[in-house]
């Protein structure tokens, strides 16, 4: 029966004997009205839902530039051991925004990765590459040990045992050239990740391997193609009584 009715009905409302139909009218006014009402409701809902969604998802697409910070003078660090430095990774939230970098001077005898102006000092992040717990440096063993799930890293920050999927993350370090007021100070810049050959990658989160297929399974953030810029180096503190 419905098939029959379908066959009978014409495209034009006038042919269907609809009261008050216009010539050439295909959409009934009732249908047009409900379409307009539903469309208006949809637009009204989208007008608050879409901005709210973008508001919540915004941070995923946000570029973030990490500033350089001074972590000490060039004489503070040696080749044979790490110095613990408290650094700020997020501004304005107090203790929760602090983290730790383990810093030593580059030792050409063991640091076989290519040398450039960014790694005269080796600065390792204390975040374990298993799931992000804080590792600590154990001087006697010359190892970094994670308290959560037993990850172990050797002196260069490479995985020596346990579940971590890649070596400890590093920070760019930099000493300004002679003549710059910051000369003689070690600056710590953005974090970067390394694969098991210590090749640099844009910073990834813990638990994301970078060897083999890993670098494709865990794409970098939209913001992370940034090279460290040297435009806004903070000036070292002026020491009272030294003039200037």
């Amino acid at each position: 029966m419905p098939a029959d009715r379908h066959k009978q009905s014409s495209k034009y409302t006038a042919d269907r004997g609809m009261p008050g139909a216009f010539a050439g009218e295909t959409v009934t006014r009732r249908r047009f009205m409900s379409g307009v009402a539903q469309g208006a409701g949809g637009i009204a809902a989208a007008s608050f839902a879409l901005p709210a969604l973008g508001f919540a998802l915004g941070p995923v697409f946000k570029r973030q530039q990490l500033d350089w910070q001074i972590i000490g003078t060039t004489n503070d660090f040696v080749e044979t051991s790490y110095v613990t430095k408290v650094i700020t990774i997020v501004q304005g939230i107090g203790e929760a925004g602090k983290s730790i970098a383990y810093v030593r001077k580059r030792d050409p005898a063991i640091d076989t990765e290519p040398h450039d102006q960014w790694n005269n000092w080796i600065a390792l992040s204390n975040r374990c590459m298993h799931l992000g717990c804080p590792v600590r440096y154990v001087e006697a063993a010359q190892r970094f040990i994670c308290p959560c799930h037993g990850g172990i890293y050797n002196f260069r920050g490479e995985v020596a045992g346990g579940p971590p999927v890649r070596p400890l993350d590093r920070f760019y370090t930099y000493e300004p050239p002679e003549g710059h007021p910051g000369h003689g100070y070690v600056y710590l810049g953005p974090r970067y990740s390394v694969n098991s050959e210590l090749q640099r990658f844009s910073p990834r989160d813990p638990g994301e391997p970078l060897d083999g297929i890993g670098q494709y399974l865990y794409p970098s953030r939209f913001d992370t193609a940034v090279r460290p810029t040297l435009n806004n180096l903070p000036l070292p503190p002026t020491v009272p009584g030294t003039g200037s």
Binding site: P59, A96, G132, Y218
Partner: protein, 262 residues
């Protein structure tokens, strides 16, 4: 099934002699009038009767109350959570921890209400799994109750998300590091993981808005979803009825069509 007095239609008032009423009697009468006034305009008692006085199969037992128990655990979480929110401050700069300390140390019954919320969360998870086990082993998820099961699974996931987001709120060392680990576990999903992590943290690092983000998800987004889904879950339970325990033998159906002799 005898009807409770409140739900009965009022009988026509006797026309004669207004006898002096006992105060309690008068109060009951007044209450009845109010209920009737509301019911005449809403007809809520119909729905209430449909909900409360259903037929249930023979042989049901205490295991069938686990769903209600879970719902009461949810209500406990909702009520204590609302009152905890009156004292809690999602301030990442030490304020969150201090406000929890204040709740525990200074506020009247604060430690108790906080404890109800904290331990109630674990109780709710346990009850959910017991309820789920009952439904699974009794085969109660089968036709026509598949959708009830699916919604129940969504509710389970939402409850676990509540546990995850709520764990951060005291903002002590344990909750901070547990959240770091939890977010990084989310990060390990291929392709999408890094974006999930950024969404949860509100950026590439655990930052200024991570706590308030978790707080908003914990006390507004998920509870609203859960309340709606629990309503739908319950509606389906009422609509479809309760399944009989599996050890109950189905009775032989009466033959519908009799043989017609020619």
């Amino acid at each position: 099934m005898p009807m409770p007095k409140l739900l009965k239609r009022p009988s026509a008032p006797a026309p004669s002699e207004p006898a002096p009423m006992h105060p309690i009697e008068a109060a009951t009468e007044a209450g009845l009038t109010v209920v009737d006034w509301i019911d005449e305009r809403t007809q809520l008692s119909q729905g209430l009767r449909w909900m409360m006085f259903r037929k249930v199969p023979k042989g049901i037992n205490w295991a069938y109350t686990l769903g209600s128990a879970t719902m009461f655990a949810f209500l406990n979480q909702a009520v204590t959570g609302v009152f905890l929110a009156m004292y809690y401050r999602p301030d990442v700069n030490g304020g969150a921890y201090e406000s929890i300390r204040n709740i525990n140390d200074n506020v009247f019954l604060g430690q108790f209400v906080h404890g109800m919320h904290k331990w109630g969360a674990s109780v709710m998870i346990v009850l959910i799994f017991l309820h789920m086990g009952r439904v699974f082993f009794f085969g109660a998820y089968k036709y026509p109750r598949e959708l009830t099961w699916i919604i129940g699974v969504v509710l389970l996931i939402l409850t676990l998300a509540m546990g995850f987001t709520g764990y951060l709120l005291p903002f002590d060392q344990r909750s901070y590091w547990a959240t770091i680990v939890g977010v990084n576990i989310n990060n390990t999903a291929p392709f999408l993981g890094p974006y999930i992590g950024d969404f949860l943290r509100g950026g590439p690092e655990f930052g200024a808005t991570t706590l308030s983000r978790f707080y908003a998800i914990h006390m507004m987004l998920i509870p609203g979803l859960m309340a709606a889904l629990i309503g739908f879950h319950l509606y389906l339970v009422m609509k479809l009825g309760i399944s009989a325990p599996p050890w109950l033998k189905a009775r032989e159906p009466e033959p519908v069509i009799e043989t017609v002799e020619v």
